[in-house]
C-alpha cells in the first residue's frame, strides 16, 4: 500500500490509476475485478490468456480522468485476435483524443458478468472528514441523485440503513422477475470500504463505480482513488 501511494506522490500524482486503485482495495480484502497492467500488445494478449476470455481493456494514464471519453475502453473481447486489434485501435484513438497524455499501457481484466449496478464511494467533507456514499449506479446516481451518506466510521446498522434508505431499494430486492441483489454482501462491502478509508487517511476520494451486485456476491468493476495533498504541501 505504502509503495503505491509513495510512488504516485513521488511522481506528483494525486489520482491513482485503476490498476493501482484496485490493487490497494484487493489487498484490503475488498472484492474487485483485478486489472493487470500490460505495457505492450503482446503482454495484453498474454494476460488475457491467463485470465480467460472474455476480457476488457482500459487505457491506463494518470492524465486521463474519463477513459470512455477518449475511446479508452473496449469490452467483450473474446479471443487473442480481438485483444490485439482492440489494443492497436485504442492506442490510436487515445493518441488522437488526448495527444499530451502519458500512456502507461492498458489494464486487462476479466469481463464481469452484468449485475445490478451500484456505486459505493467515499470523500472528505470539510466539516466532518471522511464520509461514505451508497447508491444505485447509472441514471440513479447521475440524474436522480438517489444516494445515502454516512460519516466514517460506520457501524453495521449504518450500512444496513444506507442500503434501505435509497428510493431505488425495490430494484435491489428484485423487480419484474429479476433476481434480487445480495444485500448482505453490499453491506459488507460498505463496511469494508469504511474500514479501508478510516485506516488510510491519505485517501481523499474513492469511487467504486460501478459495483456489480449479483444474487450471490458483489464485485467492484471500476475503481478510482484520489489522494489527499500531503500535509504541508500547498495544493
Amino acid at each position: 500500500m505504502a509503495d503505491i501511494i509513495a510512488s504516485a506522490r513521488a511522481q506528483g500524482r494525486s489520482l491513482l490509476t485503476e490498476v493501482e486503485s484496485k490493487q490497494l482495495l484487493a489487498d484490503a480484502g475488498i472484492p474487485v475485478a483485478l486489472a493487470h497492467l500490460a505495457t505492450s500488445q503482446k503482454r495484453a494478449v498474454e494476460v488475457a490468456a491467463e485470465l480467460g476470455y472474455p476480457v476488457v481493456l482500459k487505457v491506463v494514464s494518470a492524465d486521463i480522468a474519463h477513459k470512455s471519453d477518449v475511446g479508452g475502453v473496449a469490452v467483450g473481447l473474446g479471443d487473442a485476435k480481438a485483444v490485439r486489434k482492440a489494443f492497436k485501435d485504442m492506442m490510436a484513438r487515445v493518441a488522437e483524443a488526448a495527444p499530451d497524455a502519458h500512456i502507461d499501457g492498458v489494464a486487462v481484466q476479466s469481463m464481469a458478468k452484468q449485475g445490478i449496478e451500484v456505486i459505493v464511494g467515499a470523500t472528505t467533507d470539510p466539516q466532518f472528514g471522511p464520509v461514505m456514499m451508497f447508491g444505485l449506479g447509472g441514471v440513479f446516481v447521475e440524474v436522480l441523485k438517489d444516494v445515502a451518506f454516512r460519516i466514517i466510521p460506520l457501524e453495521p446498522r449504518d450500512a444496513r440503513q444506507m442500503v434501505r434508505e435509497i428510493k431505488g431499494l425495490p430494484i435491489l430486492q428484485g423487480v419484474r422477475g429479476q433476481p434480487p441483489a445480495d444485500i448482505e454482501a453490499l453491506e459488507a462491502l460498505i463496511l469494508s470500504v469504511s474500514e479501508f478509508v478510516a485506516a488510510h487517511p491519505e485517501v481523499a476520494e474513492l469511487d467504486l463505480n460501478p459495483v456489480f451486485a449479483y444474487e450471490d456476491g458483489v464485485i467492484a468493476v471500476d475503481a478510482r482513488i484520489v489522494l489527499a495533498e500531503p500535509a504541508g504541501v500547498p495544493s
Partner: protein, 475 residues
C-alpha cells in the same frame, strides 16, 4: 474539552457573578441578575455610570481583582478593545469563567476584530478560563436565577436545556418553551464559540443531570469529527433536537469523483442526523414541537393511535396527517365497539377510529371520559391524539379544564402518549385567537399541544422515530 470541566461547571452554576462594563440607564446585565441567588458585583471605571450602579445597591470595583471574594462568572460587556484587559484580569483572579457579550470580533470580517479575538482566545486558553462567546448573550441558569433577559424564569427543576449559536434563537427557544409551561434548565448562547465550541457544551449537557433533553440551534460546527462522534454518544443517553440554520453550499469544491460531487453540506448533515439518531428541525416551531413531545410524552416507539376529532371533515384531516407521519389508525376490538355503541351518537358522528365526536362529547366531558375509558382498556390502542375545543374559553377555562382532567386520568391510567390539538382551522376557525390562548393554557397544564394536525403528527412522528432508534441501539 479545551478547558477544565470543573471550572466550566463553576461558570455555568455560579455562586457569585461580576458584571464588567454595564451601562445605564438600564444596566441590563445587572438588572438581569436581580433574582440571582448569589452575590453580584460590578466593575466599572466610568464615573458617569457608577452612581446608577451604587443606587441599585450593587458594590462597584475598579478591577475584578479588587473584589473581596471568588468570582465564579464574569459577564463582560466592555467595548472590544478593552476585552483583552478584562480577560487578563479574570485569569489573574482565577474566575470560574466568563460570558462575553462584547462583539466586534471575527464576525465583522475585519482584521482588527480577528486579531482581538486571537488575543483573548490565547489568553483565555493559557489561563484555563472557560470563555463563553464572544459575541453572545451568555448563560441562563433557571435554578440560580442567572439570566440574560428579563423574561427568563427562576425556579426549581428543568425539562430541557438550549445551546444556541444565535442569541436571538436562544431567546426564542427559551421563551417559546416557557410559554408552553416547559422549564428550561439552562440556555447557553455560544456566539463565536472561540474557546469552547459546540462539542464542549454538548458534552457538558450530556453529563448534566438537570438536563433531560437538549435543543440546539447551529449554523455549523468547529470540530466536526469530535462533534459527530460525541453526538452519536449523547443521543444514546438523552434526546437531542438540532435546528440547523444557514444551509449554504460553502465547502463544496471541485471534485474528481462522483461521490465528492454529490456530498453537499445538506446531504452530510442529514446523514449525521440519521446516523446519530438526532432529531432534526428546520425552524424554531419544529424544534419546539419536537421538544414538547419529548418533554410531555412518555417514551414510546409504538404507533397505533386512536384519533379523536370533532367533526367528520376533521376526522379525515387528522387521519391523513397521522398516517403520513407513520402512524396506524387501527380498528378497535369488538368489545370496544359494543361499549361505544351504547352511548355514542352515530347520527352526525362516528366511533370507528378516527372518531367524529362533537355530537357525542357535546358540551359535557363525561362522554369523552367514557370514550377514553374504553380506549384505555383496548390493547390495540397505543396512544391518543385529541382535537380540543376552545369554545367559550374567553369566558371561562372551566370547560377546557374539565377536558384536561379527563385526559390526565387517561394518561395516568395508561402511561401512553396523549397529543392535544387546538387547530386554528376546523371548528375553531371562527375564533383563532381563542385557540391560541387556549393552547398555552393546555401547554401549561402539562400537555404536548399543537396548532395543527400536521405539526402534531410530525412532532410525534419525529419523537417516535427517535425512541424506536433508541430501542434498536439499546437492543
Amino acid at each position: 474539552m479545551n478547558v477544565e470541566r470543573a471550572r466550566l461547571h463553576r461558570a455555568l452554576n455560579p455562586r457569585s457573578v461580576a458584571v464588567v462594563g454595564d451601562k445605564g440607564p438600564q444596566y441590563q446585565w445587572l438588572s438581569n441578575l436581580s433574582e440571582f441567588s448569589g452575590n453580584v458585583y460590578s466593575v466599572q471605571l466610568d464615573e458617569k455610570e457608577i452612581p446608577g450602579i451604587v443606587e441599585k445597591g450593587i458594590q462597584n470595583f475598579s478591577s475584578l481583582n479588587d473584589i473581596p471574594e471568588d468570582v465564579d462568572l464574569v459577564i463582560c460587556a466592555v467595548p472590544r478593545q478593552v476585552t483583552p484587559f478584562i480577560v487578563a484580569d479574570a485569569v489573574k483572579k482565577q474566575a470560574g469563567g466568563m460570558a462575553m457579550f462584547s462583539s466586534g470580533f471575527v464576525e465583522t470580517g475585519e482584521e482588527i476584530g480577528a486579531q482581538l479575538q486571537d488575543q483573548i482566545v490565547s489568553a483565555a486558553r493559557a489561563g484555563g478560563l472557560p470563555l463563553v462567546g464572544p459575541n453572545c448573550m451568555g448563560v441562563y441558569n433557571r435554578r440560580l436565577g442567572v439570566k440574560f433577559m428579563q423574561g427568563q424564569e427562576k425556579g426549581e427543576g428543568g425539562d430541557l436545556s438550549v445551546i444556541s449559536q444565535s442569541g436571538t434563537h436562544g431567546i426564542s427557544l427559551t421563551a417559546g418553551a416557557q410559554a408552553l409551561g416547559i422549564r428550561v434548565t439552562r440556555t447557553i448562547s455560544i456566539g463565536n464559540a472561540a474557546v469552547l465550541n459546540e462539542a464542549d457544551y454538548l458534552e457538558y449537557l450530556r453529563d448534566d443531570p438537570e438536563t433531560p433533553v437538549i435543543v440546539m440551534y447551529l449554523e455549523g460546527v468547529r470540530d466536526g469529527r469530535r462533534f459527530a462522534a460525541l453526538l452519536r454518544d449523547v443521543t444514546r443517553v438523552k434526546p437531542v433536537v438540532i435546528w440547523r440554520g444557514g444551509r449554504t453550499t460553502a465547502g463544496s469544491r471541485a471534485a474528481q469523483s462522483h461521490t465528492a460531487s454529490l456530498a453537499s453540506n445538506d446531504a452530510i448533515w442529514g446523514a449525521l442526523m440519521r446516523q446519530a439518531g438526532a432529531i432534526s428541525a428546520d425552524s424554531v416551531e419544529e424544534a419546539l414541537d419536537a421538544a414538547q413531545a419529548l418533554v410531555r410524552l412518555p417514551r414510546s416507539d409504538r404507533r397505533n393511535l386512536a384519533l379523536i376529532a370533532m367533526t367528520g371533515g376533521q376526522s379525515v384531516a387528522i387521519t391523513d396527517q397521522f398516517a403520513r407521519a407513520g402512524f396506524g389508525v387501527p380498528e378497535l376490538s369488538a368489545r370496544s365497539y359494543e361499549r361505544l355503541s351504547e352511548f355514542f351518537v352515530t347520527i352526525g358522528g362516528s366511533y370507528r377510529n378516527p372518531f367524529d365526536a362533537a355530537s357525542t362529547i357535546g358540551r359535557e366531558t363525561d362522554n369523552l371520559a367514557k370514550i377514553l375509558d374504553i380506549l384505555a382498556g383496548d390493547p390495540v390502542i397505543e396512544g391518543v391524539a385529541v382535537e380540543m375545543q376552545a369554545r367559550d374559553f374567553d369566558k371561562s377555562t372551566e370547560r377546557l379544564d374539565a377536558t384536561i382532567e379527563v385526559l390526565k386520568t387517561y394518561r395516568e391510567r395508561t402511561g401512553l402518549p396523549v397529543v392535544t390539538l387546538l387547530p386554528e382551522g376546523g371548528i375553531g376557525a371562527a375564533n383563532p385567537t381563542m385557540a391560541v390562548a387556549a393552547r398555552f393554557h393546555v401547554g401549561r397544564a402539562g400537555f404536548a399541544v399543537y396548532p395543527s394536525f400536521a405539526r402534531g403528527a410530525a412532532a410525534l412522528g419525529r419523537v417516535t422515530d427517535y425512541w424506536q432508534w433508541r430501542s434498536e441501539v439499546e437492543a
